[in-house]
């Protein structure tokens, strides 16, 4: 049955000149700035129930695949489970550790998914991200239970797979390890916030077009996230360089470096 249109287009435009999603993104960015340890995730209540459930559904499906991969890897190498757990702890620590950002004049924090994806691969990074988000939601009160699915998709799926893809592509092209790591860090960070932008735009674009809402939200996030993306790249590059020079055996064991190949 057709529903009557209750408002004309002109009236809709008059009533809502700015998409609510953009306002929400500005609010998230504003409230994130003074407390960077809480800046990473969509907070409880920022997504309506339907969208929260949809992202949870995607997360549950990805969890099933990820746990299958973990089971297969555990049969080959007993380090797989403890490693995934400690990588989850690492992501938790990096997400909670405010570090100074000289350019922004404040502090920010990395999420570490790009670095983790380069070391343990995308599926184990997804599991580690999910576990880290669970701990942040249930122990620290960051993020939220209802937005856990959305946060896991943005950080664990979009971030990890984009970072891993960038890393593998550049390594196959012969790019040195630190540079490939830097690209993985930046790509993972940008993908994470791209996915978050899309999630907010989908849920809150209202009468505005999705593209306009996404562009507005992305612009609102940019000043806060750009320095953090650079920081993330530096962190991944420096970490891989340090490990390659001091403990190359660890990288060889995890399959990041081929045995007895000189690190460029």
């Amino acid at each position: 049955m057709a529903r009557p249109c209750r408002s004309s287009g002109a009236e809709i435009a008059r009533r809502a000149p700015v998409p609510p999603a953009v306002l929400l993104a500005v609010a998230v960015a504003l409230t994130a700035a003074p407390s960077p340890a809480r800046a990473m995730h969509l907070a409880e209540g920022t997504l309506p129930g339907g969208w929260g459930a949809a992202w949870w559904g995607l997360t549950v499906a990805a969890l099933a695949v990820g746990l299958g991969r973990l089971r297969d890897r555990s049969r080959r190498d007993t380090i797989a489970r403890p490693l995934t757990g400690t990588v989850a702890a690492l992501i938790f620590v990096l997400s909670s550790l405010p570090i100074p950002v000289p350019v922004a004049g404040s502090s920010g924090h990395a999420c570490g998914t790009g670095l983790a994806a380069a070391i343990v691969g995308p599926w184990l990074t997804f599991l580690a991200s999910f576990v880290s988000l669970v701990l942040q939601a249930l122990v620290e009160g960051h993020g939220g239970v209802t937005t856990l699915g959305a946060n896991a998709v943005s950080m664990g799926l979009a971030g990890a797979f984009t970072g891993w893809g960038a890393f593998r592509l550049l390594r196959r092209a012969g790019i040195p390890l630190p540079l490939a790591g830097a690209a993985a860090g930046v790509a993972a960070d940008v993908a994470t916030y791209g996915a978050t932008t899309l999630q907010l735009a989908l849920a809150h674009h209202g009468d505005h077009s999705l593209a306009a809402a996404a562009a507005g939200i992305g612009t609102a996030f940019l000043p806060v996230q750009l320095p953090i993306a650079v920081l993330e790249g530096a962190l991944a590059a420096g970490a891989l360089r340090l490990l390659a020079s001091r403990r190359p055996d660890l990288l060889v064991r995890l399959g990041v470096l081929a045995p007895a190949v000189e690190v460029r």
């Binding site: 529903r3 009533r15 306002l23 209540g45 746990l67 403890p82 995934t84 100074p100 070391i119 660890l250």
Partner: protein, 207 residues
Amino acid sequence: MRAPPLDARVRLAAAAAAWVASLALLVRLGRPRALRSLLPPFALALAAGTLLALVGAGGDRWLPAATLASRILAAGWVGCALVAWLPLPELLGALAWLRTPPALLELVAIADRQRHALGAHAVAVRDAQRLRLGWTGLRRALRSAGALGGLAVWRAISQAEIASDALALRGARGRLLPALEPLPGWPNALFAAAATVALCACLLLPT
């Protein structure tokens, strides 16, 4: 045919009721840390509601703004109440009873244990870098960030290797089961169920 949307005043009242109920619970619990954790949802709700009210045009902008702010506040505070009431070990026990995959619980338990050691290590590294002015200037800051990440990853992999070697030495090939607490008592379980229902109610409120 879709049902007509719920009156905005009803939605606002429902969100406000959930908000007051969660605040009352937290005050009743009297946990300072939990009360401090109320601030971020409050700041976010205030900022979002104020922006929507000020920048949005039209005469009826206050009600959607108040509804959005109330929903964020209510959902955030109900979540805080849940965190304050249910300790993680008890929650793991409850999740095990709900047939959550053991591997996932195992990962949560490992990460919960390791985060303290890794956190202390990372904070010590960062403080040492600060003392040596490692974060002054862009180049130094980027280099310090790399060293911090590298040392944290190094420690994480070493911890995992130690755990793996210990398992191998004991001949363990299968699961590493977390030490689960007994199931939570009925007051906690009741509260968890009520908080979940309240959380769902908050989220079903459209803006």
